[in-house]
């Protein structure tokens, strides 16, 4: 028990150390700071998908919609309403989270593969809107003409706009806060009911848990987290485009969660690191990167369904 706890503490410390010192060690492996920031935002998205998939057992295959809405919300706020980074993040989070929560109420009675199908289809609604409503969203070309703003703290100004390293640390702080909230919820009684529903919905119901209500809350929370990561992502490149809402990005997020290990808290972050770096690398060396990604997905499904961290755990148990 205590040695297990110590090991957990050590792993946690290693993860945070790696994240904190990323701007210093990444260049040694050919990485660059903006890539690190991108991985943080995408990784947070994968962890948000997994909050629902891995811990409530509910498969949404349309979560890119909330990610993309977060991105557009942030972009539109920065462009038209208020040139403030925190307000942009807030606007994006609210837009995606509220839209997701409203739609979630329509969906919570569906289960399994049917739930996945309905989330895909509804997710595409927002893709179409972003695509068609070009006067607001820039259509297929994407939304441009906004930029994250320096942070004014009263006593000091941090220029996260031009200083990539400062922006990385800002993103890391955001990441830490959201991940902290997720971890806190998962340890709470509500988190326990989420896991109960994942493990055995019938038993949960006959323990007096209002399953639909709990799924809806978990879904909505996950949408808010997702929208936040999308808002953060929009600020990495100061850009948002309809592909950020498309179901194929939803699929990418699910793959990251599964690849890293969906029954683990940190797995999806690892999955995101591998996926983003690999995609970056493969698309730079071959035009057939889609086949590689496709083959990788097939291989994960057939041979490593428990993901990288799941694999490690199994080995430890054996």
């Amino acid at each position: 028990m205590t040695s297990g706890r110590m090991r957990q503490g050590a792993i946690l410390a290693a993860i945070w150390a790696a994240l904190i010192f990323a701007p210093y060690w990444m260049p040694l492996f050919g990485g660059y700071t903006a890539l690190g920031t991108r991985v943080l935002a995408i990784g947070l998205g994968a962890m948000s998908v997994n909050f629902l998939l891995g811990f409530t057992g509910v498969l949404s295959f349309g979560h890119a919609a909330w990610f993309g809405l977060g991105a557009y919300g942030a972009g539109l706020c920065l462009k038209w309403i208020a040139a403030s980074t925190p307000l942009g993040l807030l606007a994006g989070t609210l837009l995606g989270g509220i839209a997701g929560g409203l739609l979630g109420a329509l969906l919570v009675r569906r289960r399994g593969i049917y739930f996945a199908m309905v989330t895909i289809a509804f997710g595409q609604v927002f893709y179409y809107i972003a695509f068609q409503w070009s006067s607001l969203t820039g259509g297929d070309d994407g939304l441009r003409g906004f930029a994250r703003q320096p942070l004014h703290l009263g006593f000091a100004t941090i220029n996260i706009l031009n200083d990539a390293t400062a922006f990385y640390y800002f993103a890391l702080l955001c990441f830490a806060i959201v991940v902290g909230i997720m971890g806190f919820i998962l340890r709470s009684p509500f988190g326990h009911t989420m896991i109960a529903i994942r493990e055995n919905e019938r038993r949960a119901r006959f323990l007096g848990i209002a399953v639909e209500l709990h799924i809806w809350i978990a879904f909505t929370l996950s949408c808010f987290f997702m929208a936040f990561s999308g808002a953060l992502y929009a600020m990495v490149n100061n850009f948002a485009d309809p592909r950020m809402l498309h179901y194929s990005l939803s699929g990418d997020f699910v793959i990251m969660a599964v690849m890293g290990g969906m029954r683990t808290f940190w797995g999806p972050l690892l999955g995101a690191v591998v996926f983003v770096v690999l995609q970056d690398y493969i698309s730079s060396i071959t035009v057939n990167w889609m086949s590689f990604i496709g083959l990788m997905i097939v291989a994960i499904v057939l041979f490593f369904p428990r993901g990288l961290l799941g694999l490690l755990r199994q080995r430890k148990a054996a």
Binding site: A121, N288, I300
Partner: protein, 289 residues
């Protein structure tokens, strides 16, 4: 105005027939194997390109007949080699597997046939309008609808009157009991998958004559097929047919008044159906939900 309405309604019906053809294939696979085939659009593309490559040797009619069967054969192999490994596992894995397959098929098509679109030719007598007043009703469009109607009619007859068809329908309702009766459900599922893919291949051949060839031509048809299934009710092929036609016509008619919303209307229909009748128009209670 009447002409315009008629034009768009006809258009919608033709598109709806297409959606239905795709959706019924998807629905067959979903019902018996509990797999959402993300790669369905990919198989449509395979059918379309195969017919393109076969036409110089077999002619239009030969390709029309042979290409869907070849596509079905590929589907059969894919089921045997890959899909069946995820039966009985969390639906997550079948979704991801076919998602990955769709990537591979799209890229493979690009590799074999090139990334640029290809022109297609159809027999001259089919491309002429039938009358001057209804110029939009070309022979090819009628022909497409006729083939779709024929294919669906044959499928429904097979499902109703052949032994395999009856087993497929029984398996949709209660697969365990069918298995317990000593029926080989592995073979049944392979066959059923191949039939579903046959329909996708056929849709591909027909679509290529109307829309031309592109490696991504299946993408636009996948989402409407999902919606047709949801609107019609999971588990009901009649529902899927109805759903497909309905959203096609609705999209056609919306194009008259508000062209940019013609894609959105099917999502509105889906939302209304889910609110008012969550199991879908013809769906059974408790079916897969």
């Amino acid at each position: 105005m009447i002409d315009l309405l008629l034009f768009n309604a006809t258009n919608g019906l033709i598109i709806g027939a297409f959606y239905a053809l795709m959706a019924i294939g998807l629905s067959l696979i979903l019902n018996l194997s509990n797999v959402i085939n993300f790669a369905h659009g990919g198989f449509l593309v395979i059918g379309a390109y195969l017919s393109y490559s076969l036409t110089p040797y077999l002619g239009f009619w030969g390709a029309l007949i042979v290409a869907p069967f070849l596509t079905a054969a590929i589907g059969f192999l894919v089921e045997r080699l890959l899909i069946r490994r995820v039966y009985g596992r969390d639906p997550l894995y079948s979704l991801l597997l076919t998602f990955g397959l769709a990537f591979i098929i799209e890229d493979g098509t690009r590799q074999i046939w090139g990334a640029l679109g290809k022109p297609t030719s159809i027999p001259a007598f089919l491309s002429k309008p039938l009358s001057y007043q209804f110029f939009f009703i070309t022979g090819y469009r009628l022909f497409m609808v006729a083939i779709v109607v024929l294919a669906i009619a044959v499928l429904f007859v097979l499902l109703r009157y052949t032994r395999a068809g009856i087993r497929v329908r029984a398996g949709t309702l209660d697969l365990e009991t069918v298995a317990a009766l000593g029926i080989n459900i592995r073979t049944l599922r392979s066959l059923n998958f191949a039939i579903g893919i046959f329909l996708a291949g056929l849709a591909g051949v027909l679509a290529s004559g109307q829309l031309g060839l592109e490696p991504t031509m299946g993408d636009g048809l996948l989402m409407p097929s999902f919606i047709a299934i949801i609107v019609g009710g999971v588990g009901s092929l009649n529902g899927t047919l109805l759903g497909g036609l309905m959203i096609g016509v609705a999209a056609g008619l919306t194009a008259v008044v508000f062209p940019s919303a013609s894609d959105a209307i099917m999502y509105v229909i889906m939302a209304i159906v889910l609110l008012v009748r969550p199991r879908g128009l013809l769906g059974e209670e408790g079916m897969l939900t």
